[in-house]
Point group: C2
């Protein structure tokens, strides 16, 4: 397994990214290719046996995803994606600008034939376990046909990577009845009823968080709102709980008693533990790590990249999507 | 102040609804008009001096909002709205089907001249206080012009009812930059920059929950997702905290120490404490109480209805909207 890492992407690049890559090398024995500013990367690598590909530029969070590929064609992210397209590795992992990664991967690595849009499939903690949210930010405007494909791809991921047997697929909606939602939801619901295995219908956001489905399909705008709301609510509650325990000596002592519980709660909500999320629908494995990734979460993202490659999902989607695509349209 | 109450709306109708109305009468001295099945309501009222208007039918949560006004024209909700339109009271409060209330109020009570859509403006708890979310469920498909009006109406409400001076108005988006969002957000952001007082720009859902704005504008589909996600996250965390304290004797004892903190947290997240939320943009006061309202939350919703009437918001919106509306279009 040979993983190409965008060493310049994310809030803590390159230091934490390189450290994470070296952790993955040590723990899983993967070959590592680091892409980025060689002068900054070499000292971080030391005597470790990794390949470094120099890239003179880097995509920042402020760059406009739609134009940055032309403006910064030698950015580490794009050099990494080209290396993947050329077969110099099995997967790319980047903690950089999500939109730029989507555009770059779509242009340089290409989608699976028949796939209309690559989607970001994030694993979200729920009250009963976890669920896949597809799309959670890549495509802000979607059609029913996109969402139909997201359902198929998310279902494979839940089955193969999260090891959920017969994952329950639902459509995020503002009610469960068939007439609920925008035109997008009404049409998608009808489409999924016909085509998607284990489709359980419309699901409200509240039930999503409570664990009502294993795969939740939505457009990238709404998915982003759901995800960021859960993140915000996590911070909100964590702050309240902190305040609750800080009141006096007695409450401080009780904090000690439930310490393990608090740690558990924290780890459940910690996105760094999850690590990475694949851009599904591409012809090769491209994994987005969280922008605030530190070493451990980069290591986890790299492990997820390898798992994604090993499951053979890409081949399965390639085969199945041909059946879904209506003759003559693409 | 004379409040017309839909006695048959909500999960706990008519018992809790009537009890709540009687509480409001006692506590605030309002005149109460109860609308619904007289045979069921009379025994609940006892010797109290309230007006009862008989209605032979009731809207249920399962009724389709778009057709129920024709199908059940004698439902308590619609009888109440007609009474309001006829000047038989100052406000209607209903815990019934939101969509039906919106359609019914729009048809029977009418919008303020120039207002394109009535919107549901909910007060949501945040890390630093509360914020108004408009629209949080009434209009699933919106235009920039609708959202522009939601901003204006929400801003008035935050100022007059929540008593927030110079409320900060933001647009819910998947990022802060101008290029973020769907066409709806990009156009609305440009429009609000030009016209809305104290407009602070795009805001991500995470920052909304953390208290980044006092008024958050979005379409009713996305608003519903945000709101229901916060609700779900609240239940999710409450469950985890419960589990945390239930582990052993020591953790159970510490639960006692932080009991007041837990109660505070619970009350902050409890929608029953908030009570009711106005359908803004109508020519008269129509207040939606939470579907699961019990007596105390109905009482609060009735108090909110009176406050809404007293602030004179409707007159202000009527005046200001004329300035916003472009000549020749409506």
């Amino acid at each position: 397994m040979r993983i190409i890492v965008d060493a310049m992407g994310g809030d803590h690049a390159p230091d934490e990214i390189v450290r994470g890559a070296l952790l993955a090398k040590k723990e899983y024995g993967f070959e590592i290719v680091l892409v980025g500013d060689e002068e900054r990367i070499r000292p971080l690598v030391g005597s470790e046996d990794v390949t470094v590909i120099h890239a003179s530029d880097a995509v920042t969070m402020e760059d406009d995803p739609t134009t940055v590929l032309r403006a910064k064609k030698d950015a580490s992210m794009f050099v990494a994606l080209r290396a993947l397209a050329n077969g110099e590795g099995d997967a790319v992992v980047s903690a950089g600008n999500t939109g730029a990664l989507l555009v770059g991967a779509t242009m340089l690595v290409k989608r699976i034939r028949g796939i209309r849009r690559a989607a970001l499939a994030l694993t979200m903690p729920t009250a009963t376990g976890k669920c896949m949210l597809v799309d959670c930010g890549a495509n802000v405007e979607c059609t029913p046909a996109y969402l139909q494909q997201f359902a198929l791809m998310g279902s494979y991921y839940a089955e193969r990577v999260l090891k959920i047997e017969n994952p329950r697929v639902a459509l995020l909606n503002n009610g469960t009845e068939d007439h609920k939602g925008r035109e997008l939801e009404r049409e998608t619901n009808a489409l999924l009823k016909e085509t998607q295995k284990n489709y359980i219908g419309n699901l409200e956001a509240r039930e999503v968080v409570m664990g009502g489905a294993d795969v939740v399909v939505t457009d990238g705008f709404t998915g982003n709102v759901l995800l960021k709301t859960v993140e915000g609510a996590g911070l909100f509650f964590a702050g309240m709980i902190k305040g609750m325990f800080k009141k006096n000596l007695l409450t401080k002592l009780s904090a000690l008693a439930v310490k393990s519980g608090i740690m558990e709660l924290k780890s459940k909500m910690d996105y760094n533990e999850t690590g990475g999320t694949p851009l599904m629908g591409l012809s090769r494995a491209v994994i987005k790590a969280h922008g605030s990734s530190k070493a451990v979460s980069m290591k986890n993202a790299i492990r997820i990249a390898a798992e994604y490659v090993n499951t053979g999902i890409i081949a399965d989607i390639t085969r199945d999507i041909a059946k879904l695509t209506v003759e003559g349209e693409e």
